[in-house]
């Protein structure tokens, strides 16, 4: 007879013998908020909806330290803490893991991102550098946009928004599921008039019209493997004001606009393998294209196409500019003082001027660009033990930019990246996380950036953190390798015997720019007071950027260098308080102190900025959301706005209808970011109707 001790668990008749898969495995589970090795702001679907925002950039006002400004009504310029007056180039922006900053010009065209607000599940903003996890360009922050999984998008949704300032949006989606997968197809469109008037009171040309298509599919292949794939496309027109001012005196003709037709395409495929609960891996490949068609009319004196003036520019741009700006004066006498070669060329140009080259001529300038990116990434997550986890991987990226104006043809770049990140829970209270990234870029060399964080967990809900990280930003193709000249075609009358000509100003990037380096130090606290339902995050930071490339992107005398530096110090906090089942209160505040070697880099930093929100469910389908956003000075202009959204939800059988009204009221009388961005009225009203079944 068998003498059996306690029977093995597997033989226990009373324990469920259903073969359940282990779903929330060590590789799938993430760090709790208190244990995150950095500062994180999550904008969840409730906030997205309550904000009534029509653009991702507007949502980012909810992130402490985020500086949201506008170059024109359809060009948001979003910076974390600051820098870059015209373009935000120091933030990584991802949609479901796919980086969407432009391959060549390294900016983010927020309005052209091919994702509808209604398809966004949440936005996770990592406030601080993190190239280890997100790759180069994650210099100051990472905005990670996560779309709703197809499995959570079943049924039909139709939504329309109409309102003042030409607001006219629509959204329609259909989600279907089958035995092993789910799919979501969505179509959307957006239209508005942008700002109303420029600094002179004239009509501001910055409206936009766009339409989008998006398909997302998830498929389970077997217990261990699944694939997710997406196809996105966006097409639309962004109006641009006409900004060309003739170099030569006496030219009165000109164009009316420099509008852009913007088409964005993206496709991505992700293959997930779960070897076992302790080991998983994914491979993600993506292809993207940014197509910007921009042809506009330019008028200037025929001498613009003078081969001699071109050579003079190449010899000495300052001299050439001085001559060009005062052609009438010099043509009365002789060339301005300079070297013999300069004066010889200048006298030839002046002769041409006197002999008819001062006549006005118009033609077409094609400033179009086409940028492409192919990216493949492998990431492996290995749980070595209960307290040790390793995330490592490899990434290859090919970027190409095609532009006659900016690159005189095509320019490409390849990037290799290796990364590893280790999480070690030394004890119940101490958590040590660190990693490094090695990157090698064909155009700008290699680099290694480390990152280390220590979290002390007072208990599972309250944690203190200290973080040191380094991050780099590779100069983009434009900064480093620009070969900028305008070829003007379809001239109204021949110049120098040709119907087209090369404009005399040519700008070249230095080609040897080094990477910008960020060193960031951070102390923080994250806590959740479960009794109150209150989440608090506080961050103190000291960030320095050295070898900074801060020259503005202009085509006369563009001399980029690594000569600049910036420093950001300050504090940020966010409170998210669920006061009751019906009320939620959310506050953010940031104090940022900047010093910058280039004064322009200070302009996009508001010393004080923040937001306050109150969301309430009133019962019987009524809900309201009241938000305040403010910053004391972004590019010297104050911004304060209150938004009120009131919504009513009505159940119609199995369908749901939501009707909402949204009022935005500016509390100040200032332009938005730039003097040319003005509205006629301080308020705007729009309404939305959404049907779900």
């Amino acid at each position: 007879m068998l003498l059996c001790s306690a029977p093995a668990l597997a033989d226990d008749l009373f324990l469920d013998s259903q073969p359940l898969p282990q779903v929330l495995t060590a590789t799938r589970l993430k760090q709790s908020a208190a244990a995150v090795p950095g500062s994180m702001t999550v904008i969840d679907s409730e906030l997205i909806k309550a904000s009534g925002a029509r653009d991702i950039s507007e949502l980012l006002r909810l992130v402490p330290g985020m500086m949201v400004g506008y170059t024109t009504g359809n060009q948001a310029a979003v910076n974390y803490h600051g820098t870059s007056a015209s373009d935000a180039r120091r933030m990584q922006v991802l949609i479901d893991g796919r980086s969407v900053y432009r391959a060549g010009l390294a900016t983010v065209d927020w309005s052209d991102i091919p994702v509808a607000m209604e398809d966004i599940e949440r936005i996770e903003v990592f406030r601080g550098p993190n190239t280890v996890s997100y790759g180069a360009n994650a210099l100051m922050a990472v905005v990670n946009i996560l779309t709703r999984s197809p499995a959570n998008s079943q049924g039909t949704r139709v939504k329309v928004i109409r309102g003042e300032r030409g607001i006219n949006d629509f959204y329609a989606s259909q989600g279907v599921g089958w035995e092993t997968g789910d799919l979501r197809l969505s179509l959307s469109g957006q239209q508005d008039d942008g700002f109303d008037s420029d600094a002179t009171g004239a009509d501001r040309r910055d409206s936009r019209r766009l339409s989008r298509f998006s398909l997302a599919v998830s498929q389970t292949l077997n217990a261990q493997q699944s694939i997710d794939w997406q196809l996105d496309a966006k097409e639309g027109t962004n109006q641009r004001p006409y900004t060309y001012t003739p170099v030569f005196a006496g030219i009165t003709e000109g164009g009316t606009n420099s509008d852009v037709t913007a088409k964005d395409y993206a496709g991505s495929l992700r293959w997930n393998f779960d070897f076992n609960p302790e080991h998983s891996l994914y491979i993600q490949g993506s292809a993207q294209q940014w197509d910007r068609q921009q042809v506009w009319k330019a008028c200037d004196a025929k001498v613009s196409f003078s081969p001699e003036l071109t050579r003079l520019w190449q010899l000495n741009p300052n001299y050439a500019e001085q001559l060009a700006r005062h052609m009438d004066t010099y043509s009365q006498g002789s060339a301005p003082p300079g070297s013999a070669a300069e004066q010889a060329l200048a006298n030839q140009v002046l002769d041409q001027w006197r002999n008819g080259a001062s006549q006005s001529v118009c033609g077409d300038i094609d400033q179009s660009t086409r940028e492409s990116r192919y990216d493949i990434e492998v990431q492996d997550t290995l749980s070595l033990s209960d307290s040790l986890r390793l995330v490592s991987g490899m990434n290859y990226r090919y970027d190409r930019a095609d532009s006659d104006t900016y690159f005189n043809g095509t320019l490409d770049d390849t990037t290799w990246r290796l990364f590893a990140h280790l999480e070690w829970r030394a004890s119940e209270h101490w958590l040590l996380q660190g990693g490094a990234m090695y990157e090698d870029t064909h155009l700008s060399g290699n680099s290694l950036t480390p990152r280390v964080a220590v979290n002390y967990l007072i208990n599972p809900r309250h944690g203190l953190r200290a973080v040191y990280s380094e991050a780099i930003r590779s100069p983009d193709m434009f900064e480093n390798n620009v070969n900028w000249s305008y070829r003007v075609t379809n001239l109204s009358s021949p110049a120098y015997g040709q119907n087209s000509g090369q404009y005399f100003v040519v700008t070249r990037g230095p080609g040897n720019l080094d990477k910008e380096l960020m060193r960031s130090r951070e102390l923080g606290y994250n806590g959740f007071f479960a009794d109150l339902g209150l989440n608090v995050d506080v961050k103190l930071f000291y960030d320095e950027i050295t070898d900074m490339i801060s020259s503005p992107l202009r085509n006369n005398q563009y001399i980029a260098s690594n000569a600049n530096s910036s420093r950001f110090t300050g504090a940020e906090t966010q409170f998210d308080w669920r006061m009751s089942n019906a009320d939620r209160l959310r506050l953010t505040y940031a104090y940022v102190d900047t010093t910058a070697s280039n004064p322009l880099d200070k302009l996009q930093t508001a010393r004080n900025s923040g937001s306050a929100g109150w969301l309430r469910e009133w019962g019987q389908g009524w809900s309201s959301a009241l938000f305040y956003y403010g910053d004391d000075a972004l590019n010297q202009y104050r911004f304060e706005r209150v938004d009120l959204r009131v919504a009513k939800r009505i159940a119609l059988g199995k369908a749901n209808v939501e009707l909402a009204g949204m009022l935005q009221e500016r509390l100040d009388n200032q332009p938005t970011t730039w003097a040319d961005n003005n509205y006629d009225h301080r308020h705007v009203l729009y309404f939305s109707a959404e049907l779900e079944f």
Binding site: L13, Q18, V23, L24, S32, A151, D386, R461, A530
Partner: protein, 309 residues
């Protein structure tokens, strides 16, 4: 008939008291030895291990296992036999006769009983519930997540009947049950609706809703909302649920040991096991920023709470 059975009960209970007195006086094991017959449609290592363990637990009794196919009709069995059924086919077999030996039915859930018996309750049959008791699961939530007020509960046609009972237990504890019907498991919209209005999810042991096919979607989507799931059973805790109460073989042996000491007439018609354990998933707790579930201490606290009426 009712009177008669009450009379029998009275008589048996008197006999029982006398027997107990005698046993105490003699300082011996219970005075009578019984024939205990276990049966199941499917024999397995688990069944054999359990039969053996029960035999060891009760050396005075004569414990045997006979496969269902080898048994005669229930009324052919001696009335003094105590019958223990280990699966549902056994119950079907037993139900063919209104008469038969007193029977304990193990491994049957409230849902399964409801499906087979409706609200009827056949005589001489005691149903010992395999699903964690609702009140105990609520107490578990109150213990490990004291801030949770809104308890999200998915239910289907089969499990709907449990809701009134659940509410009845929840109300005195200051908890609110947020029910959500989920008829079509390939449509996850009801889940999203429920997640928005709950602090924690309580899983009912309804295999239509909680099964290997739905586990992934349920656990991943609730985790995405940082919403813990409690229950529906121990198996789900390993898959990614935060915690559950459960009773394993050792617990059931203890329960049976007590019941078998009593004359069958004293057996309850239905019973949740008073012996149980708590299981938690430490990795899930850590990721959700919740204190680790101290399985032994929480189980002891729950048991203590159940002793006090």
């Amino acid at each position: 008939m009712g009177d008669q059975s009450r009379m029998t009960l009275l008589f048996v209970s008197r006999l029982w008291r006398r027997g107990l007195l005698l046993a105490c006086l003699l300082l011996t094991a219970p005075a009578w030895s019984a024939d205990i017959l276990l049966t199941a449609a499917e024999d397995s290592a688990g069944v054999q291990a359990f039969a053996q363990a029960l035999a060891q637990q009760r050396p005075e009794d004569h414990v045997t296992f006979t496969a269902l196919k080898d048994l005669p009709a229930p009324n052919q069995l001696p009335a003094t036999t105590r019958l223990i059924l280990l699966d549902l086919p056994g119950l079907d077999w037993r139900l063919q006769d209104t008469q038969g030996p007193p029977t304990l039915v193990l491994r049957i859930s409230r849902l399964q009983a409801r499906q087979r018996l409706g609200t009827a309750h056949p005589a001489k049959i005691s149903l010992l519930w395999s699903d964690p008791p609702l009140e105990r699961q609520l107490n578990l939530i109150a213990n490990i997540l004291p801030q949770a007020r809104r308890i999200g509960v998915l239910y289907g046609t089969d499990s709907e009947f449990l809701l009134p009972e659940l509410r009845q237990y929840a109300t005195p504890k200051g908890l609110e049950i947020v029910p959500q019907r989920w008829d079509n498991i390939s449509d996850s919209r009801p889940l999203q609706t429920l997640f928005k209005s709950s602090d924690v999810l309580l899983g009912l042991d309804d295999p239509q809703l909680y099964n290997p096919k739905t586990a992934k979607n349920l656990l991943l989507s609730s985790y995405a909302q940082q919403l813990p799931l409690v229950g529906p059973n121990a198996g789900f805790v390993r898959a990614g649920s935060l915690a559950s109460t459960y009773s394993d073989q050792a617990d059931w042996l203890a329960v049976l040991d007590r019941l078998l000491d009593h004359p069958p007439a004293n057996w309850p018609r239905t019973l949740y096991p008073e012996h149980f354990k708590v299981v938690g998933n430490p990795q899930v707790a850590r990721s959700l920023g919740i204190e680790q579930v101290d399985e032994v201490a929480v189980a002891a606290r729950l048991a203590e709470g159940e002793k006090r009426p």
